[in-house]
Amino acid sequence: MRRRVLPIAHVSHPNLTPLIDVVMCLVIFFMLVAKIGVTTGADPTIEVPVSTLGSQLQSFANTLTLNVREKPALDEPLVTALVDPAGGQTQELRVADASGKNQLLEVLRRLRFGRDGRPGGTGVNADNDEFSVIIRGDKEMGYRFLEPVLIACAEAQVKNIIYQTRVKTEVVER
């Protein structure tokens, strides 16, 4: 008598190719949309005001982001900025230190007019007319804390001042 054996079971695994295609699309999407490793020195703890105006900034090249907020217990602003992107650390820029120097004005002049901080010059001292300042101010701070920053920008002849705000989103209440 011929022995009958069970047929060999051939389990076919699910086709994973479409799954990989979809996941690859998602990965490419997130790689293009996400901003990773790009830092402008913006302080995320500062709550900027809301505005319906404003547009996206395509490039942060040739800009300096100033984080401005009230300095606790003192009647002067706390201004920080990522002056040296290679260093990766933001530093405080005093508008008036113990010797009366305005660090903020010095930095703005250096970025605006080159290493010598004076109009005119060539090479490393060449003027930078397109230099822009982005002001990221705390929405609850008084104007008296913003005023020294604007004065420093004016004295450094910064032509482009950009105010960073948050997009206003309408909430419909029923």
Binding site: M24, A34, Q56, E147, I162, Q164, T165
Partner: protein
Amino acid sequence: MRIATSKKIHYDSGPNLTPLVDIVMVLLIFLMLVGKFTAQDAYVRSNLPLRQQGAGGATPPPGGFPQEDPLEINLDSPTPDRFVARVGQYKAESAAELNGVFRKLGEDRVAAGKTLEETQVVISPGRNVKYKFLIEVYAAANTAGFRKIGFSTAR
């Protein structure tokens, strides 16, 4: 004696894709957690008025510096959570009233034969006026069509 032949059926299962899917899933979760969508921030560019005096070092436009006095908006905060904006005979205490005031100012300017683009607006805030109110007034003026807007020193 039965000789095994080459007629056995081979099922080609292909390479094992499970580790690839695992790695891609980890990458995807990493990007979802680390990335940030960029649509939340808006940047308001300022277009500063031109005056003969003061800092700034602007070069005069072809017609020279505007001689007409700018439109001055006095902005105060009687209490920390509200503001009062006064310009000429008009007064506004909310965003809706601001829009109405700037619309009327725009109409007055146009009726006087001037364009809004060439009208210079200076916001003169009190020392304690909050930054969020400044942006609100700035945005209302810009929405109404005024383009050259700046801030003066604190009163």
